[in-house]
Subunit: 290 residues, 2 copies
Amino acid sequence: MFDYLKTTEDALASFLPSKNCREHKLIEAMQYSLSAGGKRVRPRLVFEFNALCNGFPEGAVPFACAVEMIHTYSLIHDDLPCMDDDDLRRGKPSNHKVYGEDIALLAGDALQTLAFEIMTSDKTATLVGEKSCRQCANVLAKYSGANGMVGGQVIDLISENTNAPIEVLREMDYKKTACLIKAACEMGAISAGATKQQVEAASQYGECIGIAFQIKDDILDVTSTNDELGKPVGSDNDNNKSTYVSLLGISECAKLINLLTEKAVKALECFNGETISLKKFAYELAERTK
Amino acid sequence: MFDYLKTTEDALASFLPSKNCREHKLIEAMQYSLSAGGKRVRPRLVFEFNALCNGFPEGAVPFACAVEMIHTYSLIHDDLPCMDDDDLRRGKPSNHKVYGEDIALLAGDALQTLAFEIMTSDKTATLVGEKSCRQCANVLAKYSGANGMVGGQVIDLISENTNAPIEVLREMDYKKTACLIKAACEMGAISAGATKQQVEAASQYGECIGIAFQIKDDILDVTSTNDELGKPVGSDNDNNKSTYVSLLGISECAKLINLLTEKAVKALECFNGETISLKKFAYELAERTK
């Protein structure tokens, strides 16, 4: 597997508009959050499925960056005082703490727009063809919008202090977290010209590891320290939120993660190519400590 | 000309996700601002240029709705307390006054996403072809993002209390207002399969009436009453903002609007079709009283 991390970091930087403009403070704010590291889970999945379906990395780049831009915009908006009001993100002051709420809001907005701009550019169309280009943009929009990621955040908001039952939690985690991971997997396959069945399998893998990822997040929220996690721990409890952990307990949650991880690995069976890297990744996510 | 207003209202309603979901409060908030009327200037321009370039209305519908969704999301975010902190919009309480800041923020986010979702749908691709579909989405992204509409809002923010000179104002108005109007005109032409020269002419028309539109807004901000305008008048002055009016005076501004309107009308010369409706529209905007 080629160096997806370096490719992602370089490409993210290259897609940002030049700071040589009056609105340079906006570009700086966009760059601040976009370059704040993180595990780049979603870009990696785009590259992995693109490779598995015999695509080429250059064709996956705009979609890998787009999904990370959507993820980053959601974090910036999520940290705002009118939302979770978090001062820390990935161990650094959150965007609005550095640039002010107004610029942070607009930096989030502009990152979302930029995601769609790079996916629909002439260059991207030349790389992967008109149809794949348009379909990937549609997939990302569908999974990140009102009935996807944003919808999940709304369910999260309205469920606070309500002792939300497990079925609400399941839908919330699916929409808030799994949808975007699912989008990354589908885009990887589509950008490589995969068959419908392959896109479906990628989608299934993404959904399973996505939900497992969120359950693991809930576990880490109660078992980690601030330093390990780079963000305040115990925040779910402080905010009176139901989580998988509060409803099922840690050991049931660990079982659920294993089940979902096995289901994800099984979804890979329909591919002819080398799936070891994606299998490893599913297990890594399940066992991560931060 | 067919009934673009009814078509727009009906289509906007039809593109909203069903409220039969847990996140129905989000959909209600999206609908609240989207159905709040307004002049539907941008959708009309999409339909007008589509017709002028021999397109068919069905093919213009998703782009007409998309540009209105982008416009609406920007208004919702603009009214938030961390931005302009406006309680009224189009004569009604602004979105966050009804739904709370958190839902208003997310409703804006989801409207932006929905704009890109409908432009890149399979149905839209079938109507106008893969390439036009993708190009329109790219045009809207380019003009509404960091170096377009959002960039203009940032210039607006950082120029407060600075006695911004005319060249800053020009760039701000171009980006904040004209860019989206320009995008509407270009998308109308592109969705009809127009030539490069025609798209360029549509763009020129949009830029001119867009800047004229903003200058007219500045004039109305000092000459109207709250009731006429449906929003608080005098807000530019209250916020210590330079405007064309504060820098040049009303009569110079009126001259400038005429000049821009004539330039817009001249840009229409390259079209063979019937341009009377677009000419009338340019004059109407220049002479509007609200």
